[in-house]
Symmetry: D2
Subunit: 240 residues, 4 copies
C-alpha cells in the first residue's frame, strides 16, 4: 500500500523509501565491521537499546519520501515542527527536504478543506490549545454551510481580481488560506519521521494533523517495524 486518503480531499502517498531495520543495525555496528543480512533477536535488542539510550544517529541512515496534500494550516504546523521544534526537540533538521507548491503561480484551481457538519469541535475546557467534544450537528451544519459560502465568495473575488489584471501574488489575499490545500514532497530520515509521529499522534495535537500522522504511520510501520515501534515507544515514555 502506498496511498492513504486523509480529511475530505487530502492524502499521503509514499513515494519512495531506502533501507530497512537492518540498515540501522549495520550503521550502528560500523565500528565492528560486522554486517547482518537478516534481522535476528540480537539485532532487535540493539535497536531497542539505541532508541532507549538516545543513540539515534543510526536511524538517520534510513530515508522515507512522501507526497502530501493537506490544508495550509496543517502544512504550517508541519513546517514549524521541521524548523523550530525539530531543531529544538530532538531530531536535527538534517535529512529533511521539502518542496512545495506555491500560490505565487496560477497552477491549479484552489481547493479547500471544509469540515463536515459532525466535524466541528468545541474549545477544550482546561487548556488554551487543542479542542474538545464535537458540536451538535445543527451548529455544525450551519458552520459548514457558512464556510462553503465564504470560500465561494473569496474564490470569486480572487478570480475577479485576476481578471482585472492583478498579479497572482496579491490576488491571493482574497483566499481564506488556512483551509486551502497545498501539495509537497517531504524526504526525511526515519529518526525525523518518528519524532514527528511522537509529537503529532499526541492527543493535544490538532486533530487534522493527527490524521496525517496516522496516515504516515500506516504507510511506514510495515517497512521498519522494529525501529518505529522502539522509537515511538521510547519517545512516549520520555514525555510522560
Amino acid at each position: 500500500m502506498s496511498f492513504v486518503e486523509v480529511l475530505d480531499k487530502g492524502y499521503v502517498r509514499l513515494v519512495n523509501h531506502m533501507g530497512s531495520d537492518l540498515t540501522v543495525v549495520n550503521a550502528a555496528r560500523v565500528s565492528y565491521a560486522k554486517e547482518s543480512s537478516e534481522l535476528n533477536e540480537k539485532d532487535i535488542r540493539l535497536i531497542r537499546f539505541l532508541a532507549r539510550e538516545g543513540h539515534t544517529s543510526p536511524f538517520r541512515h534510513v530515508i522515507l519520501q512522501y507526497e502530501i496534500y493537506a490544508p495550509l494550516m496543517v502544512a504550517r504546523q508541519w513546517w514549524k515542527y521541521v524548523i523550530g521544534a525539530s531543531h529544538a526537540e530532538g531530531t536535527g533538521d538534517s535529512l529533511e527536504a521539502w518542496n512545495e507548491s506555491s500560490r505565487r503561480y496560477i497552477t491549479e484551481e484552489p481547493v479547500f478543506y471544509v469540515p463536515g457538519p459532525d466535524e466541528w469541535r468545541s474549545k477544550p475546557e482546561n487548556s488554551k490549545q487543542g479542542s474538545g467534544e464535537v458540536l451538535s450537528a445543527e451548529t455544525g451544519g450551519q458552520l459548514t454551510k457558512e464556510l462553503i459560502d465564504y470560500i465561494e465568495a473569496g474564490v470569486q473575488k480572487y478570480e475577479a481580481a485576476l481578471q482585472a489584471g492583478v498579479c497572482a501574488e496579491q490576488a491571493r489575499l482574497f483566499l481564506p488560506a488556512y483551509g486551502m490545500y497545498v501539495r509537497w514532497y517531504w524526504t526525511a530520515s526515519l529518526q525525523s519521521v518518528c519524532h514527528f509521529l511522537s509529537q503529532r499522534l499526541e492527543h493535544d495535537a490538532q486533530k487534522e494533523i493527527q490524521s496525517y500522522a496516522k496516515a504516515i504511520l500506516e504507510l511506514s510501520k510495515p517497512l521498519y517495524p522494529a525501529s518505529i515501534h522502539e522509537l515511538i515507544e521510547q519517545t512516549k515514555s520520555d514525555s510522560e
Copy 2:
C-alpha cells in the same frame, strides 16, 4: 536605530546582535593564533577573499536577532527560504532559530495587510512569477475596498464561530489568512542573513518581501559594513 516600519502595519526590530567584522577575521585566522583588535585594510581584503571564494564559514560566527511582524504570505516565503531554499541554495539552515505566534491560541485580534489604492500590481508580462506595473487608482481603490469588506466579513464569522463554542484551531478557517499579520523571532548567522538578502532584494522577489529585506539591510549594514558589502556583492555576481 533598531526599528523600521514596513507595509501598512508591519515592522522589523533588531533585538540583538553579536560580533563585528573583526569576528569574521579572527574566526578565519584561528589556524594562525593571531587575533586582530582593529579592522585594517588587510582584514578587509581577507573578508573579500573569503566571500569571493565561497569560504563562508567564518561569517557564521556573527549572529543577528530580529523580531518581525509581517503578513503570513511573507512569513511563508521566508520559511521556505529557511527550510528549502536555504538548505538548498547555500547557507545551511544552521545558525537559524525561529519562534512564531500561532492562531491555535486566541491571543490578539487578527490584523490584516491591505494594499492601498495605488499598491495593487499587475501580472508580469513575460513571467509566470512576480508582478508588473501598478494598476490604476480606480481599479486599486475598488480592490482595496473589496478586500476590507471581505476581511471584515471573515473576522465576523470567525468571532461568531468562537462565540458558538468552536475551537480556535478550526474557527480560523474563516480568516483570509495570507494577509494576516504574524510575529516571530528570527536568529540567524550573518551568512544566512546575507543569503536571504541576496535572494529577497532581487527584483523578481515578491514586492512585499523585498520591503522586509530592505528593512533587514538598513538595520544590519551599519553593524557589519565590510562583510555585508562583500557577501551581497559576491552573491549578486554569482547569479548573473
Copy 3:
C-alpha cells in the same frame, strides 16, 4: 571570568555571548506580544516548563562563542557530537559554527597532550568504553616518559620530512596526532551547549572531554543561570 585552563596545555576561552535568560522567555512569549525586562518567578517557571516539556526552540535564540584549544581526540569527539550525535540525539546541529586550525598548513609548532604519571587510567571493569581507576605512579611515570620519547621521535621525523621537501599534508603522517593540540572557534546556541554538557559531563564520557565540559559549564552558568540549570537537570532525568 572568560578563560579556564584545561589539561596540561589546553584552555577554553569565552569569546562572546548574546542574550540572557530573559531572551528565552521573550522568544517563548512572542505569541503574546509581551516582553519582560526583568526576570521574575513566573519567568523562571516558564523556563522550567519549556525545558521539561522539550519545547526547547526558545533556547536557540541565545548564543555562545568559545575558542577551544584541545587534543585532536577531544576535538573529534566534540565533532562527532556536533555531526552525528547532535543530529541524532536532540539538539539540531543548527546554530553551530566551527572554524578550526589545520595541519595542512605549517603554522605553529605541534604541541601534544601528555598525561602526567598520576593521570593514566585503567580500563573499566564492566564496560567496553570509558576508564576505571588511576594506575600506579610507577606504571604511570613509565608511560609518560615513553609517550614523550615517542612524540619527540615523531616530531623529529616530521621535521626531517619537511626539510627533505615533503609537503606538510603528508609529513604529518609522522605525528602521533590523537594527542596533538588543535584550536577552534565554536559558536552554538544555548540549547546545543546544554545538550553537549549533558552528554559530556556524564561519568562515562572520556575524562579528557569531561574536563572541557566542566570548563564550558564554569564559563557559561553565570550568564544563563536559570536556563542552564533547567536544561541540564531535565536532560539528566530524561536519561535515567
Copy 4:
C-alpha cells in the same frame, strides 16, 4: 558496480541509493501536480535550469549511502566539509548522516595508510596549501621505510600500554593517528554529494581525498547522470 578500492588499503562501497534523475524533476514540479515517468529532453533542460539558477532543493530528494574506509586525515577533512564548509558553502548539512568507528573501543587491529616510494609529494611552489611534484624514488623509499618503522613502534607501545592495563582511550595516544584507517557510513543527498565532489575533485584538494572523491563520482555518476553532470559543471563555473 558498487565497490572501488582507494589508496593502499581503503575503499568506497555504495551501500544504497534512492530515486533517479526523475525524482529531481518530479520534486521540482510538485506545484504543477504533474509527474513524469520517463526522462525526456524537457526534463533535462529543467535540471540544467535548476542547477544553473541555484534552485537546488529538488536535488535534496535524491539520497545516496556509502561505506567509506579511509585514513583519519581524510575523514577529518570530510567532516570539516560536512560541518563547516558545507554549512557555509552551500549544501545545507541537511540530509547527511554519519556513523563512524571509534578507537575508544578495541575492535580491530589498527591499520595505517603508508604512501609508497613513488607517492611522496613535494610542497607546492606558490601556495601555503596542497602539494607539488612527486619526490625522487630514493627519498620516497626512505620515507616509506621510516614511516613503517615509526608506525610499528607506535603500535607496539599501544599494545604494551593495553597490556599494562591502560584504558584504550588513553593508550591510543601512541598511535600516529593521521594515517590510521577509520570506517564510516555516509548518507547524503545528491546536492550534498555534488557539493563535496565539486570541492574535493579540485586540484588544490589533498591528493588522498581527491582519490576518494573520484571513487564517489565513479560509483554515483551512472545513477544520476544528468543531475550530477549539471550540478558539478555549475559549481565549477561558479568558482571560476
